[in-house]
Symmetry: C2
Subunit: 233 residues, 2 copies
DNA sequence: TTTTATCTAAACCTAAAGATTTAGAAAAAC
DNA sequence: GTTTTTCTAAATCTTTAGGTTTAGATAAAA
């Protein structure tokens, strides 16, 4: 939780100098915040963060030099407790999704009322995620549609279902990058038997080599059975 | 958007008969809803949904017979516009995350005030996602920590970074399951050159065959460069 | 009871993959 | 200006992988 005796240390990054000044003045109106640094450059911004270890970073994620998402990644690598709030002119679902995925604790549109920005800082400082309702809906729609596509791929006429138990076991070992000899050893069958199984697998999955068999498996929701590999005593 | 002339058709699924009755009475107090079916069985619930094509389904996701997540999947496969709101006794992050991922449009705790349930129905019917603040925070924490783990794996001593541009291009084609001859054709170089590159790749990634090279690539954040494959005119 | 499916296995062959060495040319780094 | 890196290529050899056919044993289904 937040310590209200200390001022929240804030760093601002925005390639638009005018906008930067505007935000700074806005924040300085609040007595509980302390803007310790501002910059129009992403790279300089990272240096500021290294130097000051701020509580909060407000960053425009649509910058030319180094884009905001890359900068987010760079900040993550510093492993600080600094929380980043993304500022953006766009409510693009993909952008919102990726920003959140890269650890942004908030996402505020530049067109939004300035009071929202203060709200965001307050909420994020208290350990919450700040996503205005509109953006939150965008995020979830994107999230669910992505997940749904993955589901579809692993459902529609999945050739994996035509495999027998034994073939599935063999495929499982193939996906671990193991050769015939070792597979034979693990399943305690002969190498030629393994070859037979593998050839049957190829036919059923309609591929010609193990790499493509593995690729098919991984892209069609193949899941290790877990109960395998106990044949070995 | 919702048509306020029509009543929202609702189906309830909860293995606890008492709870089921309670929810039904609660909803029936609202004149704009019409509970068209209730059941304590997940399988019967799916049948009800098939029959009535309700607007909203309220479903307990902690059921014995068939768990709620499986039921969610089954409902998804019906490809209806029915929206499912998950009811649960637990605010477990993993459970929330998976429910949303499987398309749940809302998640409400049984301990929450009943007015929240009405709110949830109303919001979801209007095309929004209903996730109370506490649960939303849980979701995002889980989402971001999962993403962060993936990032880590693809960062920590990633052998992919030791590859040259050309080797990266070759690896990219390997991950598409293409053989030497075709790779040579695509990059317009000789087959022996491809072999040289592949052998160098193997050494750098510390593997002995293409399958393991591909597996390494896929598990370490390998991303197609997109600017490849134009060598071919 | 007789198919049918599955698991096992061998023989035989071809093609592809992998290991190793050597080497020229061009570009980048020192 | 010399060293290093990278991309190119060939030769040679060994080892897997892959294709095909045949077949016995068993268990389940028709």
């Amino acid at each position: 939780m937040r310590d209200f005796n200390k001022k929240l240390r804030v760093v601002l990054i925005d390639d638009n100098a005018n906008h930067l000044r505007g935000i700074k003045e806005l924040i300085n109106l609040e007595s509980s915040y302390d803007v310790v640094g501002t910059t129009t450059s992403a790279n300089l911004g990272i240096n500021l963060i290294k130097k000051y270890h701020p509580d909060i970073v407000l960053m425009d994620i649509n910058m030319p030099e180094k884009d905001g998402l890359q900068t987010l990644q760079a900040i993550n690598k510093l492993n600080l407790s600094t929380k980043v709030i993304a500022l953006s002119g766009y409510d693009d679902a993909d952008l919102i999704y990726r920003a959140i995925k890269l650890g942004a604790k908030g996402y505020v549109l530049k067109t939004m009322a300035s009071v929202k920005l203060i709200n965001a800082i307050e909420e994020v400082a208290n350990g919450k995620i700040y996503l205005p309702s509109v953006l939150s809906t965008r995020f979830f729609e994107y999230f669910q549609s992505t997940a749904r596509e993955e589901e579809k791929v692993s459902e529609e006429e999945n050739l994996l279902t035509s495999l027998t138990m034994r073939e599935y076991e063999v495929l499982e070992l193939l996906t671990e990058g193991i050769n015939y000899k070792s597979i034979a050893g693990k399943l305690i069958i002969s190498e030629t038997t393994v070859k037979t199984h593998v050839n049957n697998i190829f036919q059923k999955l309609q591929v010609n080599d193990r790499t493509n068999a593995v690729l098919y498996a991984l892209s069609h929701g193949f899941k290790p059975s877990k109960k395998t590999a106990m044949t070995a005593v």
